[in-house]
């Protein structure tokens, strides 16, 4: 027979499991594509997605609903993805490294134009790169990106403008 305290804990655990299952159902896909838009590679995105949900599970009891749950989850995912990107960026900076990464990913079959674009984006500083990817791939508003990255809308607009100009130069484009 279980002790009274154990029943309470079990009940609590089941409640959290139920909430967590709902979160997993609701956000897995959206979160995955968000991470993928930053990292581009499937295997990295898969790792970060898992890490993100593990953190969410651990932090669930202390979540106080001060912000919407998806904003909180997106922030964790963004931070995790950026941390991994930073770690891998050293290798990406080597010539052709991005091309190698995308070629090594069996879940990427973009055309030459997309590869060129991604190579140009990979040359950008971290912040500009992230803002550009979130705008280009997810079409997020500056307000949404601001909430995720904790940066002002003005600074984001400036970063995006610089990023766009650099990419245009890199791709020899007049219009973007």
């Amino acid at each position: 027979m279980q002790e009274p305290g154990t029943w309470k804990e079990q009940l609590k655990k089941e409640q959290y499991q139920s909430i967590f299952a709902e979160l997993v159902e609701a956000y897995t896909e959206r979160l995955y594509w968000h991470i993928r838009s930053i990292l581009l590679r499937h295997d990295w995105s898969d790792d970060v997605l898992q890490e993100c949900f593990i953190k969410a599970w651990k932090a669930l009891p202390s979540f106080r609903a001060e912000s919407a749950f998806y904003t909180w989850l997106y922030r964790i995912a963004t931070n995790e993805a950026l941390a991994l990107l930073k770690k891998e960026r050293r290798f990406q900076l080597q010539e052709g490294a991005l091309n190698y990464h995308l070629s090594a990913d069996p879940y990427f079959d973009g055309d030459e134009a997309l590869k060129n674009l991604l190579e140009a984006v990979a040359e950008l500083p971290d912040k500009q790169q992230t803002v550009f990817k979130l705008k280009y791939f997810q079409n997020l508003s500056f307000n949404e990106i601001s909430e995720m990255l904790g940066t002002s809308v003005g600074a984001l607009k400036a970063s995006f403008h610089h990023a766009k100009e650099k990419v245009k130069v890199q791709l020899n484009l007049n219009e973007f």
Partner: protein, 126 residues
């Protein structure tokens, strides 16, 4: 994004969702961790109390020890104490003095001499 050349393995999301839910099932019970400050404040208060107690009591004790002086004792008290010979031996310097075999011999000694001797050898008795 998925239409721009970024693909996923077949059935990836279904499998991933099951895997994530299973992770929560397997892990231990979720308990709300007490904020660190709640643990920190009592510890700090206890440490501060010990420190204050140490500041108050330690110097007082050392002052009490340093204030011990044989000049505060009455002459008769010193003589009685020495006559009791609590340590079982007379100091050598007394043995050489006249009448040192009897307790009355101490009465002939100069008080200052006794005091200075005892002050010099106080560590042996305290």
């Amino acid at each position: 994004m998925k239409d721009q050349g970024f693909k996923i393995p077949e059935g990836y999301f279904e499998a991933k969702k099951d895997q994530l839910k299973a992770l929560a099932q397997e892990s231990g019970p979720v308990t709300k961790a007490a904020p660190k400050t709640r643990i920190l404040w009592p510890s700090l208060a206890a440490a501060a109390a010990v420190l204050i107690a140490a500041l108050f009591f330690l110097p007082l004790n050392s002052k009490q020890n340093s204030d011990l002086n044989f000049s505060d004792l009455q002459e008769q008290e010193v003589i009685d104490f020495l006559n009791q010979d609590p340590y079982g031996v007379y100091p050598e310097s007394f043995i050489e003095l006249p009448n040192s075999e009897s307790s009355e011999g101490f009465e002939n000694l100069d008080t200052e001499l006794i005091e200075s001797y005892l002050n010099e050898h106080s560590s042996e008795y305290l």
